[in-house]
């Protein structure tokens, strides 16, 4: 049957929840960043779907800006992970918990 807006939204929701699970459950910092990327992609799909079914280009413009932000976020995230790895020889999120009382 024809592919409506709901299909894309549900698809992006599924993707988002998978990414969310990954981000919250995984112990390796790099995998967490990967899952965050998946979540951002899910949002992108939803945005583009809206622009396609709403005949308004702002959806795509937003998608571009989300990509920019995602790129910046990954760059800084990975820089942090590497810096942490260098100083504490681990990327296991559960062992990077200095910021507590």
């Amino acid at each position: 049957m024809a592919v409506g807006l709901e299909h894309f939204l549900i698809l992006s929701a599924v993707l988002f929840s998978i990414g969310l699970y990954g981000a919250l459950a995984k112990r390796n910092a790099v995998v967490i960043l990967m899952c965050i990327e998946i979540m951002l992609n899910a949002v992108n799909i939803a945005m583009v779907a809206f622009s396609r079914y709403g005949h308004l280009l702002t959806g795509q413009v937003f998608a571009i800006f989300i990509m920019v932000v995602a790129a910046a976020e990954v760059v800084v995230g990975l820089a942090l992970v590497i810096a942490i790895y260098r100083s504490r020889e681990t990327v296991d999120v559960e062992r990077i918990d200095l910021m507590k009382w």
């Binding site: 939204l9 459950a25 795509q60 995602a70 760059v75 990975l78």
Partner: protein
């Protein structure tokens, strides 16, 4: 044309979800990264279906070309001694939250009627996208500049963080 799009949508969706699950499920990080690349590709495919061709190319260029490479670099640089990416203490709660989130969002999506316009926007998006981005008053010139500054800041920040003293 319709059935073509439907078929390719279902295929791409299946691939995407499968690769996303793989990323989350696999223990070997490098394989997870490769599946991530596959996931990005399928997202680009979905963009093509949705008629956003410029975005599809941009997606491939940015995500696969840059971000995936960066992640793989990071994996190489922080070579994990203990195997792969075990899941942490919050496995079950996270799974629960994810599921709950999915259920609620689907409920929302299904219940609201989106009065979507179904026919396919024909013309290619590149020029109109450029118009949207750069045209004088209605355009997004300022956000564009800010995004540029954001990227610059991110790059300099990353360099300073990673530079070996």
């Amino acid at each position: 044309m319709e059935t073509g799009i439907a078929i390719s949508f279902w295929i791409l969706a299946a691939v995407m979800v499968a690769s996303a699950l793989a990323v989350v499920w696999l223990r070997d990080i490098f394989r997870a990264a490769l599946f991530l690349v596959l996931c990005f590709f399928s997202v680009a495919g979905v963009f093509v279906i949705l008629g956003a061709d410029f975005l599809a190319a941009a997606q491939v260029l940015i995500y696969v070309g840059a971000i995936a490479v960066l992640i793989i670099f990071a994996i190489m640089l922080t070579r994990e001694t203990q195997r792969g990416s075990p899941s942490g203490r919050f496995r079950f709660i996270a799974f629960l939250v994810g599921l709950l989130f999915l259920v609620t969002v689907t409920l929302v999506v299904v219940s609201t009627d989106w009065h979507a316009i179904t026919e396919i926007p024909a013309e290619p998006t590149t020029s109109s996208l450029a118009q949207a981005l750069f045209s004088g008053e209605s355009g997004f010139v300022l956000p564009f500049e800010i995004a540029a500054v954001l990227l610059l800041a991110a790059i300099i920040g990353a360099i300073v963080l990673v530079r070996e003293r």
